[in-house]
Amino acid sequence: MTAPLLSLRDLRTEYRTDRGTVQAVRGVDLTLHRGEILGLVGESGSGKSVTCMSILKLLKRGGHITSGTAVYDGTDLLKLSEAQLSRVRGDKIGVVFQDPMSALNPTMTVGRQIEEVLLQHRKISKKAARARAIELFKLVRIPSAETRIDNYPHEFSGGMRQRVMIAIALACDPDLLIADEPTTALDVTIQRQILALLKELRDRLGMAIILVTHDLGVIAETADRVMVLYGGQVMEQARVTDLFEAPQHPYTRGLLAAIPDPRRSDSALSPVPGSPPDMRAPPSGCPFAPRCPNAMAICLTPPDLYGAGDTPRLRPAQYTRCWLADPAAPADLMEATG
């Protein structure tokens, strides 16, 4: 097997706030291969966005990484200086955010914003940068690329702005695109267009994508592999079909039962009771235990991440952080809860 493109080990990130320290990410491991679309799914405060933004140290005020490594193509990004990192951002790794309007400069044409990225990272002429910008607009299927390139961000619709953001992120042919809730602010018809575009770009350019979303429908449509985060930790990870066919963690099962299937009306909605934990004082054991229908006394002790090697019930490449998957757990217990 070839070396992974990106490998996070024991990533821990906290935020210092006036009201205490938020333990946003608490020991996340992540492996991403070239050309792979990895979905990170979780609710607000689960740590999915902070995990992504830690990779490029794009943390908001008060945020800092307390431990871990993020090896990208052989280099630990977390050890780089700010100057070295800024050469990686936008060059080797592109980023797309939820709200393109706040990420674009409203006083500059979109064409110039793409050219700026190119001129910063590449030794090319202004003319060549402009030609490349038009080429990128065509790549993300913005109609009339030659004229639209001279428009300002406010002259684009929400969906087209997100295409502009993707064009900027792709300017330097990155091997990795981080897309943080790229379609959350968009209508469903536009969302489907953007998701189709991301898949097409992956196929054509061979780049890997980390797709952060709270929407399991988006995951099912787009991702190859999924990590489910809760309370700053990975609760479960699996290939996408396995996660939906054979979810192992009670949290994953709860999430799947709480969303409607648009193809059926008879499926009753089963909410997950309770609220997400306060990450200033996360539960001492499994973070989901206070809301878990299967919680046991042992859940006050943090469970390990178990794989198929520990529990035959798990599928290849499937992992779950749950005591129910411990080899010592009685087999009938899991059957009763499954």
Partner: protein, 329 residues
Amino acid sequence: MSAPLLELKNLQMHFPTRQGPLKAVDGISLSIQAGETLGLVGESGCGKSTLARALIRLYRPTGGRVLLDGQEITTLSDSAMKPHRRRMQMIFQDPVAALNGRMTVGELIAEPLEIMNIGTAAIRRERVKELLEKVGLGADAANRFPHSFSGGQRQRVGIARAIALEPELVVCDEPISALDVSIQAQIVNMLSDLKRDTGLAYLFITHDLSMLRHIADRIGVMYLGKLVEIAPSEALHAAPRHPYTELLWSAIPVPDPAARRDDAFETGEVPSPLDIPSGCRFHTRCPYASPLCKTTEPPLQTGADGHGVACHHPLPSSPSTHQQEIENA
């Protein structure tokens, strides 16, 4: 059938702008029966939130009529509207953003009762407790401030405040969009329980089409200020008749990788509401558009089954015959 609880007749809500009138709502007729949930969907800018605000008279409509229990309220002054206000309440996407952060939850919920001069302070306190229990927060919540609550709990506060005056109609404008997935179902189920227990009616606005199917009895689909289709929820899902409804439905992400679609989905975007296309407003994006669609706006026609559609070439129950029908026409 008795008179509907609320009826709109050719309702218009136009806003003047420098580029000409923005026709946010451009002639919509519909009714909501007592105890019914009417869902309203459409892409952003279709006018669904404007319609909601005009029908509960947060706006004064620029044309058409609004009837509450058969009585016209379209142009009533604020003071003449006051006795009607308690019958129609609203729930917002983020209820607490619109509320005074210095007031306790108990004060916030008691406020509508005070404004309407209902009960003594002691009676109102009892009522607040009752309401807090009803929305699953518990009476202890009365002394806390909304900022100490999670998003789902805040929406419960918003709901308690909205139902304090025992309204007959509650307009819910994207009430779950800002909530976590695991919390959304809690709120949707609670709204269903409230309706079952008190017989209130909802106008439920959302862009989450799959959730709407769970809560709505009927669904209306809006496009650029017009109602293009309205039908019982099941009929609309099983056999949408307007090509726009079909487009919306096909865009919903399905939480099942086995149903994944990898085709390109190039269906264009909504035109500007300042520059509405001629004829059928949807013709610029419609795969079935004919020359007629470019010139003549189709009226909403409702069949005996209560399924209304505004389209020259509505989809039949069997899609394969549809293209043939258009070619024959």
